[in-house]
Symmetry: C2
Subunit: 458 residues, 2 copies
C-alpha cells in the first residue's frame, strides 16, 4: 500500500488541518534538543486531538507498517523524539488540557500535551504542588516528562516524575486503549504497568492521559550558596547535608569550569580560582531560615571560601541565578554533548576526578553541573563542531564519561533517557540477560515494532 493511501486515510479520519506534510514544517520538527543526534525524514506530522484519534493513527500505522514517533515539546536531550525515515510524527500538542484538579484527592488528571509549567501553575492556584520540575518546565510536556521519567531540581526532596504518576491511559501498538494504575494513593492489583510505561520513551505505548499525585503547596523556599576552592570540599559538604536529615528541597553543584564559564558570561562575582559551588534550598516554611543557616554552617565547616544565605525569596532567586545560567553560559563556547551519569554519592569525588582526567586525555573542555544530592551529574563536553578532529575527541570523551559512571557502580542516565544517543552503552549497563528481557518486554507490547522502533535498542 502506498504512502498516499496512508495520508488519505489520516486526512479522512483526523481532518486536513491535523495532517501536515509541508516539508519545511516537517524539517522543523525532525529532532529534539540533542541536535547532535541523527534524525530521519518523516512522512507526515499528525496532531490528533483525542484519544480516539490517536487510536486511528496507530491503527493506520499498523496497517501500512509505518513507524510512529510520539513527540511532546521535543525538548529531549537524547534524540528520543527524533524522526525515523518515512515515519509518522505524532504530536501531542493539541491534547493539552488539564481535565481535573481535585483538592480533596490531591490529584490532577491531564492530557499528555500539557506543558509542565502550565500544570504547576494551575495546581498552585488551588494551593497544591506538582513537584517534578525539569529545568525545561516552561516548554516540556507532562507526556514527555512521563515518557522520560524526567527529574529536576526538587527531586532531591520530592522524587522524580514517576513518583507522581498514579495511573495512565495508554494507546497500545494494537490500537487498543488500556488504563493502568489507579487514582487512590496505593494499589497493587497485578503488575505495575504504570511504572513500566514511565520512562519507556514512546516505545511501549502512547500516553493519552495521566492521573498525577499532588501535594499541599509548600511555602517559598530560601537559598544558601557556598563556594569552595576544591571539588572535594564541595562534594563533602553536599554529603554532609544529605546525611544531616535536613531534607533540602534543592541541592545543586557546579564545578570550577562551569562556574568560570558562567562568570565569563555574566559577572556573578565568582572568583577565578573557584573549585566548586553548592546551592541549597529549604522549603520548610517557618523552619526554612533555620535550615539554610544549618546548611551554611555545614558548608563553612567543610572549608567553604564564601557562604551566602538569602533572607527572602528575591535574594534566593539571585543566589540560584548561576544555576539557571548554565545552559546559556555554555552555548557560546561551542556545541555541547550532555552526559547524564548518576553514581552512588560515595563515588562523586572519583567521578569528578575521573572527568577531569578524561577532559585532559581527550583535550576537550568538560563542564560539570549536576543534581549532586541525587548523585546525578551532567558532565558536558563542549567542542567546536567545525573541527572534525575535535568532534571525534568529544565523542570519545562523551563515551568515556559513561564508561566511568558504569565502572563506579552508576548508570549512564539518571534522567535524560537512552533515546538514540546512548543506545550503544545500554547493553553494557544491562548485560546480555537484562537486555534480552527488555527486548522481550518490548515484543510483548509491540510485536510489530511500530512505536519508536529505532530508540533504546540498537
Amino acid at each position: 500500500m502506498s504512502a498516499d493511501q496512508l495520508l488519505a486515510k489520516l486526512r479522512s479520519t483526523l481532518g486536513e488541518k491535523a495532517v501536515v506534510t509541508d516539508p519545511d514544517v516537517l524539517d522543523a520538527n525532525r529532532n529534539d534538543e540533542a541536535t547532535f543526534c541523527a534524525a530521519g525524514v518523516p512522512l507526515v506530522l499528525v496532531r490528533p486531538g483525542t484519544t480516539a484519534e490517536v487510536q486511528e493513527v496507530v491503527r493506520a500505522a499498523g496497517e501500512y507498517g509505518v513507524p510512529i514517533v510520539t513527540q511532546g515539546a521535543r525538548s529531549g536531550l537524547s534524540g528520543g523524539a527524533n524522526a525515523i525515515d518515512g515515519c509518522i510524527l505524532l504530536s501531542t500538542a493539541r491534547m493539552n488540557r488539564v481535565l481535573e484538579i481535585s483538592v480533596e484527592d490531591q490529584v490532577a488528571v491531564v492530557q499528555p500535551g500539557v506543558v509542565n509549567a502550565d500544570l504547576s501553575r494551575a495546581v498552585l492556584g488551588q494551593g497544591l504542588f506538582y513537584p517534578p520540575d525539569p529545568s525545561s518546565w516552561e516548554m516540556s510536556t507532562v507526556g514527555g516528562n512521563i515518557a522520560t521519567n524526567a527529574g529536576g531540581l526538587c527531586c532531591v526532596k520530592y522524587g522524580v516524575t514517576g513518583d507522581f504518576v498514579r495511573g495512565l491511559e495508554v494507546v497500545l501498538a494494537s490500537g487498543e486503549v488500556v488504563r493502568t494504575g489507579r487514582r487512590s494513593v496505593k494499589g497493587v492489583a497485578g503488575y505495575d504497568l504504570t511504572q513500566l510505561i514511565v520512562g519507556s520513551e514512546g516505545t511501549l505505548g502512547i500516553v493519552t492521559e495521566a492521573t498525577l499525585a499532588l501535594r499541599p503547596a509548600p511555602e517559598a523556599a530560601l537559598t544558601a550558596a557556598a563556594t569552595f576552592l576544591s571539588v572535594e570540599e564541595g562534594v563533602a559538604a553536599a554529603a554532609a547535608v544529605m546525611a544531616s536529615g535536613l531534607r533540602p528541597s534543592l541541592l545543586e553543584f557546579l564545578d570550577g569550569p562551569t562556574a568560570r564559564a558562567i562568570q565569563n558570561y555574566r559577572d556573578m562575582g565568582l572568583p577565578e580560582n573557584v573549585g566548586s559551588l553548592l546551592m541549597a534550598q529549604s522549603d520548610r516554611g517557618p523552619r526554612a531560615a533555620e535550615d539554610v543557616a544549618a546548611i551554611a554552617e555545614i558548608c563553612t565547616a567543610h572549608g567553604a571560601a564564601e557562604v551566602a544565605v538569602a533572607s527572602d525569596a528575591e535574594e534566593s532567586a539571585m543566589l540560584l541565578e548561576a544555576r539557571r545560567l548554565v545552559h546559556y553560559a555554555l552555548e557560546p563556547l561551542g556545541t555541547t554533548l550532555i552526559d547524564d551519569v548518576a553514581v552512588p554519592r560515595s563515588k562523586l569525588v572519583a567521578l569528578l576526578t575521573g572527568i577531569t582526567e578524561i577532559g585532559t586525555k581527550y583535550d576537550v573542555l568538560i563542564c560539570c553541573p549536576g543534581h549532586i544530592g541525587d548523585g546525578n551529574m551532567h558532565p558536558t563536553v563542549v567542542f567546536d563542531r567545525s573541527d572534525p578532529a575535535a568532534e571525534a575527541r568529544a565523542l570519545e570523551a562523551f563515551g568515556a564519561v559513561m564508561e566511568l559512571g558504569l565502572a563506579l557502580g552508576g548508570t549512564i542516565t539518571g534522567e535524560h533517557g537512552i533515546g538514540k544517543l546512548k543506545r550503544q552503552w545500554l547493553a553494557q549497563e544491562l548485560g546480555p540477560v537484562g537486555l534480552r528481557l527488555q527486548r522481550d518486554v518490548k515484543a510483548a507490547f509491540d510485536p510489530q515494532s511500530l512505536l519508536n522502533p529505532d530508540k533504546l535498542f540498537l
Copy 2:
C-alpha cells in the same frame, strides 16, 4: 521423568538437609495467613542458601516441568505463598543476611529472607531508617515485602516498599540471573523492570538480593488520638489533616465495630457509642509536639468527642495500643476474611457507609480498620466457620466490598496483593485489554509458567 529423579537431583545439588519431604513439615508449610484460602499438597520444600542454588532449583523445576512457589515468612494475606499440588516450595529462610549497610550512600543490600524488623534494627544502629513497616514486620521478610509491595503504618508519609527498592537480583524462570535497577538514587536506563518485579507475587522471578534506599533516622514520634461519635466526623478530620501539609508519619482509623471489639477484648476506656477513632503521629523531632497539637486541634474542630495528646514516647505507644490490638481483638470473634480496598480519599465516607450496608444485607459483622491517610481500608468480615450458611454470606460480603471499592474508583487491593484469594476480581479491575497485557508480560518472563502459576490470574 519421575518425581524421585527430581528429588534426587535436588538433594545432590542442595544437600540432604536443604531438601525436605517430611509430610508433617510439608503440611505445616502449605499456606500463608489467608487460612481461608485453598492450598495444594507440595512435593518438596527446599531451602537454598545461595543464588546459585536457587538457579539450580529453577533449572531442575524447568527440566521436570514442576511449578515453584517461593515462600518468605508465609505471613501473606491472599494465599500468594500457598502450595500448588506437586510443587516445589522454595523457602528463602536461609538467605537471611544483611550484606551491606552504607551510611554514605544510604543504602542496604540484603538477601530476601531477612526479616523486616531485623533489617530495620540493623540500620537504626547506624543512624539510618528503613521506612516500610507492615504490621507483620517482626515476621515478614524483605523478599515477601518486595514481592507484595507491602505497605504499613508509615507509608502515609514515606511511601510503600517499592519506593525504597533501588535494584534487585532476580533468578528468572530460565534459571538465569538478572540484575535490575541501580544503587544510585536516580536511573532511567531502559524499562523499569525493578518496579515490575515489585508486587509481582513470585510470578515473574525469584528475588535473591535487593538494594534498598534508607533515610536518616527520624526522632521518636509523638501521637495524638481522637474519638468521634460518627464515621463522617472521623473521616473529615483525617481529610483535613492530609490537606493541612502537616505530613503525619502515621494516620490510622478504626470504625465503631472495630473499636467496640477492642474495648471488649481489653478495657481501653473506649465509649460504647464510639463512631470512629483516629490515631496520628508526627516524627518531626522538635516540631512533633507542635504537629500533634495541631492535629488534635483539627480533630476538635471536626467534632471529636475526646482528644488525647501524648507528651512522650511511652504515652505515644499507649495511645497506639488500640491499633495494635485489632488482630487479637477480632480473632476470638470468628474466622476473618480481610479486604484491602483502597479508594480516593474523597470516597471514604461512601465506602464506609456502603460497608455498613453490606454488613446488614449479608447479616455479617464487618469491622473496618484502615490506613485512612492513604484511603486504604481493611474491612474485615468476621464469621463462624462452622456455619456453612454464615460462611457463604461472608464470602458474598467479602466480594461485595471489592465491587464497592471498584465502583468508587478504587482498587481491590492496596497492599495485600491478589494471590489466590482475589483472582476473580482482578479481571474486573483491569478490564480485558489490561488483563491480556498482564498475561503477555507474564508469558515474556515465564513462557513455561513455572513460577507460582496459579496466582494472580484465573
